[in-house]
Subunit: 336 residues, 2 copies
C-alpha cells in the first residue's frame, strides 16, 4: 500500500483525494488545506466523498506529515513556483515524495534555475522524488509531442494546439482569462497582470527542447482577446457580442532565428457558439511528419487529477531528485 | 559516444545503420549479416551509405562483439522469439545491451515465459538491458494507448485500429499477407501457416494489460481476406478484382468474458483504390473517454527504424533486465 497525503483541497485536490480513495493499492493518510474552515473536519465531508472517511484535515502540515509519514504527497495549490516553493520544501524536508500540479513546476530548470536546483539538491539529500505534472503543461502540449517524436528520425518543427471550453470553470478562471471583459479592460488586464492566459507555455517549450536536444534562443508569447460575435452564456459568466470570450494565447520557440515550436491555446467559453470545435492537435514536421488529432480535447480538470494520481506508483519507485515527465516511464491508468 | 553494433542489414537494419551514422553521439563500431555475400564488405556499400564507412560486415558476430565491445547492439533479423533467441543470448553473453525489433520480443513475458525469464536472468547476470520495440508492437497499438490512458481515472475498454498501405513492401510481405492470392489460396495459406497477417497482437495485448493492471482470460485472433473489388497495382504485385488485397487481422482481449481490448489491423495494398483512408486510431472508453486519430498512419518501416535508434540512449542508461516500452522513459527523437 502506498500512503498518500493530500495538500490542497480545491477542485483539483478534492478530485485527487476522491480518486486516491477509490484506488486499491493507495491509502489516504492525511490532508491539509490552508482554509481554516476546512481544518479539523473529516476529509470525506470537505472533499465530497459522500460520507466520512476517518481522515482529518489538519492545520499543521509539517507536524502531520512527520506523524503520518506518507510515501507520496500531492500538492494542488498554486500555479507559480513562488507560490509553492516553501510548501514543496516543507514536504521534502518531511521526507515525503511529492507530485505537484503547479504549472511552473512541470519543467522549472530554465525558467527558475535557482529554485529547481535547490529543490533537486534537497530531494537528493533526502533520497526522495519531486515531480511536476498536469494535463498542460505535463501532457498534451509537451509530453505527448515528445512521445510522438519517438518515431521520427528528424524533427524540423512542431505545431501544437489545444482548443478547449472554459465554461465549466469558476469565477477565478473567468477573471484571469478575461472572459466577459471589454476589449479595453482585457488590454488593461494584460498590462497590469490580472489577465494571464495560459500558465506553462515556457515550461512546455523548455521540456520539449530538452527532450529533443534543442537549444532555444528565444521564447515569444502573445495573448489576444477572443472577441465574441455572439452571445455566450456559461454558468459563471455571460458574454455579449463585442465582449471578450476568452484569451488566445500563443507561444513561439526560436532556434537560430527560426520558429521551431509553435503552441496555440485559445481558451474561451462556449467555442461551439461560433462553430469552433474543441480538440488537441499535434503536427510534427520532420521525417516522417505526423499529424495527430484528439476530438473533443482531453478534458483539463479531470485529466490533471487523473494524471497526478496515476503517477503515484512511478514516483514512489523513481530515483531521487526533481523530475519531469521526461524522466519517468510512460504514464498509465493503473487500476490495480 | 555510444558505440553501436548493427546485427541484420535488411531494409530495417540497413535503415538503422544509416540513421546511427547520422546521429552525433552515436558511433557504428561493427555489423553482421548472415548473408555471406555481405560479409567482408564495407558496411557503407552494403547499407547504401553512398560511400565506404570503414566498418566491415563481419562473419563471426560473437568474436566481433567481443572485439569491438559495443554499448548497444541493434538486432533486426526475425520476427519470432524462436528465430532470435540464440542471437539474443549471443549478444547478451558478449556483454552488450540490445534493442531488438523482433515483434514477439516487444512483450514476451506471457507468450514466451521461459525464454523471457531466461533472457531476463542472463541480462541481470551481465548487468545489461534488453529491449523489444518497433512501431507495432511497441508503439501505435500499445505504448501510445498506454500513454493516453495516463489521463484517465478509469478505463472500461480500448479499441485501436491501424489501417496501412502495404504497397511499398517486397515479395516476402506480399506472400505472408496473402496479397494477390485467390480467396481459396488465402484460406489454405492461413491453414498451413504461410499467411500470418500481423505479428504481435498477443504482445500488444499483454503489454497493455500489464500496464493497466488487467488480467486477460483469453485473447482471440481472427484473420480475414480483404477481397478487392478493383484492380490494384503495387510495385511487387498486381491484384485483380476478386483476388485478395490483404489481410484484415483482428484481436480481442477478454476479461471475465467481456471484450476489453479490441485491435484491428487491416493490411493491404492500395487501400485508396476503394476509398479507405490510412490512419491510426485509438478509442478509450472510460473516464474520460478519448478518441485519437493520426492521418495518414505513422509509416511502419521508417518508424520502426527511428524508434529503435531513438531508444539507444535510454537503453544504454537503463537498469539491467529484459524491458519493454513500459519500463523506459517516454521515447523521443534525440538529434544531439
Amino acid at each position: 500500500m502506498i500512503k498518500v497525503f493530500q495538500w490542497g483541497l480545491g477542485a483539483m485536490g478534492g478530485g485527487m483525494a476522491r480518486l486516491v480513495r477509490e484506488r486499491p493499492g493507495l491509502v489516504l493518510v492525511g490532508a491539509f488545506d490552508r482554509r481554516v474552515e476546512f481544518q479539523g473536519r473529516d476529509l470525506g465531508e470537505v472533499a465530497a466523498f459522500g460520507g466520512r472517511c476517518g481522515v482529518c484535515v489538519c492545520s499543521d502540515p509539517l507536524a502531520e506529515l512527520q506523524k503520518c509519514k506518507p510515501d507520496v504527497t500531492l500538492l494542488a495549490t498554486g500555479s507559480y513556483v513562488k507560490d509553492v516553493y516553501a510548501d514543496l520544501k516543507c514536504i521534502l524536508n518531511a521526507g515525503s515524495n511529492c507530485i505537484t500540479i503547479a504549472e511552473e513546476m512541470a519543467y522549472a530548470w530554465q525558467s527558475h534555475p535557482q529554485e529547481a536546483h535547490d529543490l533537486d539538491a534537497l530531494a537528493h539529500r533526502r533520497g526522495i522524488t519531486l515531480l511536476g505534472t498536469g494535463v498542460n503543461p505535463g501532457f498534451v502540449l509537451d509530453a505527448l509531442v515528445v512521445m510522438l517524436s519517438g518515431v521520427c528520425g528528424r524533427v524540423d518543427s512542431i505545431f501544437a494546439s489545444r482548443v478547449n471550453d472554459l465554461s465549466p470553470f469558476g469565477p477565478t478562471v473567468m477573471r484571469t482569462q478575461g472572459v466577459g471583459a471589454t476589449p479595453e479592460a482585457f488590454a488593461a488586464g494584460l498590462e497590469n497582470g490580472t489577465i494571464v492566459g495560459h500558465i506553462g507555455f515556457r515550461q512546455s517549450m523548455d521540456m520539449m527542447a530538452a527532450a529533443l536536444g534543442w537549444m532555444l534562443d528565444d521564447i515569444q508569447e502573445e495573448r489576444q482577446p477572443i472577441i465574441s460575435r455572439t452571445q455566450r452564456i456559461a454558468p459563471h459568466v455571460r458574454v455579449e457580442p463585442g465582449q471578450v470570450a476568452g484569451c488566445r494565447h500563443m507561444a513561439r520557440g526560436l532556434c537560430s532565428g527560426k520558429v521551431v515550436i509553435e503552441l496555440e491555446h485559445p481558451q474561451q467559453v462556449c467555442p461551439e457558439a461560433e462553430n469552433m470545435a474543441t480538440g488537441d492537435m499535434i503536427r510534427i514536421q520532420g521525417d516522417p511528419s505526423i499529424e495527430m488529432h484528439i476530438h473533443p480535447e482531453i478534458p483539463g480538470g479531470k485529466a490533471t487529477v487523473n494524471l497526478a494520481v496515476n503517477m503515484i506508483p512511478a514516483v514512489a519507485a523513481a530515483r531521487p531528485g526533481l523530475l519531469s515527465m521526461l524522466e519517468l516511464p510512460i504514464p498509465r491508468m493503473t487500476q490495480g
